[in-house]
């Protein structure tokens, strides 16, 4: 199966004065797994629904390969979609749900049956073909929705927060399985989520969206370690944003005049970084909390800025003894210190 690249070119969509998509452009390569990540109302679902054909952009173009699909009816797009609530057809059994797109394409009965059964086996649902939808668990429904979306061999797959209704353990299993399915089929996939961890785990690239714009599009590592805006830095995890001039270098010199982003887990409390490149923060301990796998310390700089420091439990032998109000020095190695370009603190 040949998958297709997707081109989103200056797409705009407004509902009255509310701008849902503000001139969004994005190229998704053939076979890529790209995640649209953002808080609710950021426009990620609107963008997905525009690709699906349920939202008509006010302006801009959508291309599937070389084909302009901006005005094409949803049923002519040949895109597999997995909806948030699965949207299975409750009046049909599992097999009929999966056969549905094939029946619409007038695939011969016997071939459709075989194709549906093969796809059900692919998502590990063999044996449940005759089951009613109401008799399935959440995870099984998710798999039926997947099977139904891929059975007609679409060139592109769209997924709208498909795992949000599942409990945490199942979610992690399904993350792995969806990614494996993607790798097997090589199908171009756009995945929408508001869960940054899910986005980092699953994607080739992540596009972080906020208020109708793409803030940054990059590999998960770049997004996490080298956020291009303050919003991305804070959305992706416990980030400390330090005003220019508030940190000094480890050897005592002036740190940068830029706004710095340092992740909570990039800090060390011991002085083993002394003599290397990096920054050091002189601070007072405000609060500490033991979270099982790590300690979370809240520090206050002398100018009042709060800094979160996360020390893995295995390296935190001294943390239990620290008392509030005590002065501590937090060190971060240079490679974990990121200047946010153009950010105003």
């Amino acid at each position: 199966m040949k998958s297709l690249p997707i081109t989103i070119d200056s797409v705009r969509k407004a509902y009255g004065s509310y701008v849902a998509l503000d001139d969004v452009s994005l190229d998704v390569q053939a076979g890529e797994f790209l995640t649209l990540l953002g808080p609710s109302g950021s426009g990620k679902t609107t963008l997905l629904m525009a690709l699906a054909g349920f939202v008509r952009p006010d302006s801009g173009k959508l291309l599937l390969g070389n084909r302009d699909i901006t005005r094409l009816a949803p049923n002519k797009r040949d895109i597999g979609i997995v909806f948030q609530n699965y949207a299975l057809f409750p009046h049909m059994n599992v097999l009929a749900n999966v056969e549905y797109p094939l029946a619409l394409r007038k695939t011969p009965k016997a071939q459709a049956r075989q194709q549906a059964l093969d796809t059900l086996a692919r998502v590990k649902l063999e044996g449940l073909a005759k089951r009613n939808i109401a008799a399935l668990s959440g995870g099984q429904r998710q798999r039926v929705a997947l099977a139904r979306a891929i059975v007609f061999e679409p060139r592109v797959m769209l997924m709208d927060e498909p795992l949000s209704a599942l409990d945490r353990n199942l979610r992690e299993t399904m993350q792995y399985e969806i990614r494996r399915l993607h790798d097997d089929l090589g199908i171009t996939t756009i995945y929408v989520t508001h869960d940054q961890r899910e986005a980092l785990t699953m994607s080739d690239r992540v596009a972080v969206m906020n208020s109708g714009r793409i803030q940054q599009i990059d590999t998960p590592q770049q997004i996490y370690d080298r956020p291009s805006t303050r919003f991305v830095a804070e959305f992706m995890g416990e980030a400390n944003i330090l005003a220019p001039g508030s940190a000094r270098t480890i050897d005592g010199g002036d740190a940068s005049r830029e706004t710095l982003m340092i992740r909570a887990e990039s800090f060390h409390l011991d002085a083993k970084l002394v003599g290397r490149d990096g920054v050091a923060l002189e601070a007072r301990l405000c609060a500490k909390a033991f979270r099982g796998e790590n300690w979370l310390l809240t520090l206050a700089l002398d100018d009042g800025q709060e800094v979160l420091v996360c020390i893995p439990a295995a390296l935190a032998s001294g943390c239990a003894e620290l008392a509030a109000g005590q002065r501590v020095t937090a060190y971060a190695p240079a490679e974990k210190v990121h200047a946010i370009p153009g950010a105003i603190a």
Partner: protein, 263 residues
């Protein structure tokens, strides 16, 4: 309340007694025509002195009554066939549209069930007269469809409100055109509401007399119209026989539909 006090016999007796009275109050006027219809007498008299089937023979033997029955059944069927699909489409658009626009459309659609029947009939008479449609079956059909649409909407609207519209989007994404998605995904799942709406539309037409009196004429007269005319000209127990048959038919149809819904 009764579950909480299962031993309170007095409360139970009072409740049952009260319910029985309400039932009797509602049912007696309908049921009183049953013995009347089996009377030997030429007049409507209660209780009848002797019983016979002569009024039923009179009904089934009369070409006029039979024509009225045929017209009413055809009209009821046509009304249901036209009004229910229209109501379904209207309800879908109201559901999808939402907001004030949907409320406004709903108000207009439901108006015929609120406006006094006589006003509707007079208005319809003038509109149809201008088109030369007074006295035609089509004219009466228009009137009955106007009345049946709000009835069908009242049944279908809440059913559609509960429907998961993502299913239609899913069907569309899988390759179904709009009509295929409505016919293959919505209609089968709303089967019961659909059946109820059809039945209600049918019964609305069957029961309607005011519009028929104004608009229908001659061989297009419906059974209710003929009954009113017959009551005006002479008091004849044939009316009672028809009413009894009518009630029996409606009870049987409603029972069948209700029992099917249960199973």
């Amino acid at each position: 309340m009764l579950e909480a006090y299962p031993d309170n016999r007095l409360a139970r007796i009072l409740l049952w007694g009260f319910s029985a009275l309400v039932m009797a109050f509602l049912m007696l006027p309908t049921l009183v025509v049953v013995p009347l219809s089996f009377s030997v007498s030429d007049l409507l008299e209660f209780p009848p002195r002797a019983y016979s089937l002569r009024w039923y023979e009179n009904f089934f033997g009369s070409a006029t009554w039979m024509a009225g029955l045929r017209t009413s059944l055809i009209l009821g069927t046509l009304t249901a066939m036209v009004a229910v699909p229209l109501a379904l489409l209207a309800c879908i658009s109201m559901n999808r549209l939402g907001g004030k626009a949907a409320s406004a459309i709903q108000g207009v659609l439901l108006a015929p069930s609120i406006v006094p029947g006589i006003l509707l009939a007079i208005g319809l008479f003038f509109v149809l007269a201008a088109q030369g449609l007074v006295g035609t079956l089509f004219g009466v059909l228009v009137g009955h469809v106007v009345l049946a649409i709000p009835v069908a909407c009242i049944v279908l609207l809440p059913a559609l409100a509960r429907f998961d519209w993502n299913q239609v989007q899913a069907a569309r994404s899988l390759g179904a055109g709009w009509a295929t998605a409505v016919g293959g995904i919505i209609v089968p799942q709303l089967r019961i509401s659909f059946l109820s709406a059809t039945l209600m539309a049918f019964l609305t037409s069957l029961d309607e007399s005011v519009i028929s009196i104004f608009v229908a004429s001659g061989h297009n007269s419906t059974l209710p119209k003929l009954m009113f005319l017959s009551l005006r000209d002479q008091i004849d127990p044939t009316i009672a026989a028809i009413s009894t048959l009518w009630t029996a038919i409606v009870v049987v149809v409603v029972l069948i539909v209700t029992l099917r819904q249960k199973s």
